[in-house]
Symmetry: C2
Amino acid sequence: MGQKSFLYETVSEQLREQILRRSYVQGEKLPSTRKLSLLFGVSINTILQCFRQLEAEGLVKASPRSGVFVTGPSRSRDMAEVTPLFPMLPVEVSLSERILEYMKPHIDHSVVPFGIALPAPEIMPVNQVAQAFRDVLRSAPQEAWGYTHPHGQERLTRQLARRSMNYPVPIAEQDIVVSNGCMEAMELALRAVTRRGDTVAIESPTYYGALLALEVMGRKALQIPTTMDSGVSLQALEQALRHGQVTACLFSTNAQNPLGFTMDDQKKQRLVKLLARHQVPMIENDIWGDTVYKGSALPAKAFDEEGLVIYCNSFSKSLMPGLRIGWTVPGRFHRRVLELKQVSSITTATPPQMLMGRLLETGYYQRHLQTLRVSLENQTARSVTLVEEHFPPRTRVVPPTGGCVLWLSLPESVDAEELFHRALSQGIHIFPGTVFSPGRRHHNCIRINAGTPLTRPIEQSIAKLGELTRQLSGN
Amino acid sequence: MGQKSFLYETVSEQLREQILRRSYVQGEKLPSTRKLSLLFGVSINTILQCFRQLEAEGLVKASPRSGVFVTGPSRSRDMAEVTPLFPMLPVEVSLSERILEYMKPHIDHSVVPFGIALPAPEIMPVNQVAQAFRDVLRSAPQEAWGYTHPHGQERLTRQLARRSMNYPVPIAEQDIVVSNGCMEAMELALRAVTRRGDTVAIESPTYYGALLALEVMGRKALQIPTTMDSGVSLQALEQALRHGQVTACLFSTNAQNPLGFTMDDQKKQRLVKLLARHQVPMIENDIWGDTVYKGSALPAKAFDEEGLVIYCNSFSKSLMPGLRIGWTVPGRFHRRVLELKQVSSITTATPPQMLMGRLLETGYYQRHLQTLRVSLENQTARSVTLVEEHFPPRTRVVPPTGGCVLWLSLPESVDAEELFHRALSQGIHIFPGTVFSPGRRHHNCIRINAGTPLTRPIEQSIAKLGELTRQLSGN
């Protein structure tokens, strides 16, 4: 593309592209004639000619003295209508297609948010945390500017280490690697201890994000039976370990998502010992641990004498999701995880680390947790009552021990995916049980987020869901 | 570990661990007696007994009415002395050991920072950006709280798309995926288009972080000859492509690190056409593109009609490293990259995205670049003059076209690794040429960061380096 073609038609075409592909949308002002003339290396007259052309096409309108504004195409033109520039490549996917479909309604703020598992901002200290963030930036702008060590900022890692004060096997500052949320922690862990084609033992049902990770990374999943009343079956796990099928495990011992089950300390210890006997590492997803309101929230890591547990956690569920601050304690895999972290993102952003360091140092976070646990326990208990009231017989629900989701086992005849669609058409977003395991298990189960305060419309939505379930169950 | 063992000795042992492993350091206050009694589930008396024990050991001191403070071990006890909890696992490493060794002096703030390539905070708008960050948090705390879409916040991606206004092949908002810095962008790209064992063509010399990534991910590197005067050899590349040895390329076309070379538009187009002919994707690391002060800073991506270029960039070099905001434009690999991003870190932190969106929207970033380019051009030009003045004959240096590093080819007899050690003993941190390629090439080259304003001590350090080089060259 030589200098010659950069004339009137070319520049018009470029501007048209910017508008049609929504880099500039209706009502926005285009750069000035002078700026565009410099950018494209053409005369002011050429730019004016382009504007006239685009105006004739109904895409822009010149407003005397204030500039040229985009007038079309109308906002109703959806992003999806834009033709992709390139043919999309086929990739190996199976579950992820479905998961993404079921996640999608979340972005619509008008739906009832029973989908994504998250305490609502209404019960969170949004303004106070923003204020603390501003204080941190005001008091130490220089510190916020630069990189931190790849393993994280000392002020934060020291505070994270102190959380292990009462662990039988405590954690030291230098054992910790700060990550971009719990997801990066788990992903680094998976890459550190498994390879493509390896098998990872998971709970069934389990967090769909873990399943996505296994799929995208080409790891196989071995489903260990897991129940609302007793968690993951150690007997089944032992069998799998004895057969040497398992390269690593990926479990949650506290307020397991989606079941809301917390193992007692004895079971946690038995699990860790079992793994030690077979020398199989376990990735522990403890993202809901800080929300546990019933039972002991010590993680399995607290009993890990051999360094086989790779502990993963973040503040995304217990405080601020947008912060993306998590951490991992990789035990004997520390060096490999740190290496992977360095080439994944070098280090985690500094200002959010400083904020979390501050909130832990001052005890603010710990005080917040006390309030949060009370809110979540009340909301989940009230939601359980409403489910029992409105859902058909043979619906089973157990009050969770932490977190903010309810796992509902519906009558066998109910197709949860069908229920998802019917609920969505009524403006209610839920997750069908089938996304919590590979291969469409739990087809008659759903997960409901109870992170939102139970206002009248929320209560009515639970009743509505119960009614839809009744219809589907033939009751 | 039953309830019984959680008594005086156990609790003392736990507290001792916390102090010896530096979760609490000298001068810091331990939690209150009441808090510890709750945490460990033992009586207040037991905690007091523990304090007496630790005081006898010289680790803490009780101060009436204010609490119990850590008094030992002394601060001189280095982290390195702490025995690691677990035996370290052997991992496949070769270059990374050396690179980490050569990076290490960077954390010592007293060394002359000729090592890491970075404009010094002194020439950056640290306070203004912190102020803008606080404004963003003040005006939209709710927005800052939650997750953004995995591909990034629309306000930012739209601004990023507009940067391509004058590209022959422009970029649309939905082509972009926001990342945790340029490193995550490149890592996602590498994972999207290559597998373990595949070969990636790289410049020689190239950015050591790229080499680390290849090593940690088990990819092989094919070194394409690259010179200060003409950049990467397209002839050599074509030969490699014809032999089908190459799965992907990883190049920088603007202010290449470490050579500081920028391809002209014609060469960029020839490169893109060559890749298209062989249908081989290229990962373009454009992290220095915004700093180019001589030549055209259009990236190769600007000419990419087939979607084979995976563009990677960030604001870490041109603005704020601690922000960790980068992005990628993966062309036809968009879907795979987005999938990998979702399971790597779900999405990038919201507040830093909002800040960059704001700084682009207001034109602040673009204005800042104009100032930055002038500073960098002056600093590098002046540094080149000083090198020519102080280094021995047969030293070769070419003024870079952007960025802030000088690549020095020293007389053949000079061992750059030896020079690194001698310079460090004088408090000067440089990078030896051997870290910029696998297999100890460029043994007589060094890279110098010229990002720091040329104060008298900095100038003297260049002179000192020249003197050390003379000694090593026998001149």
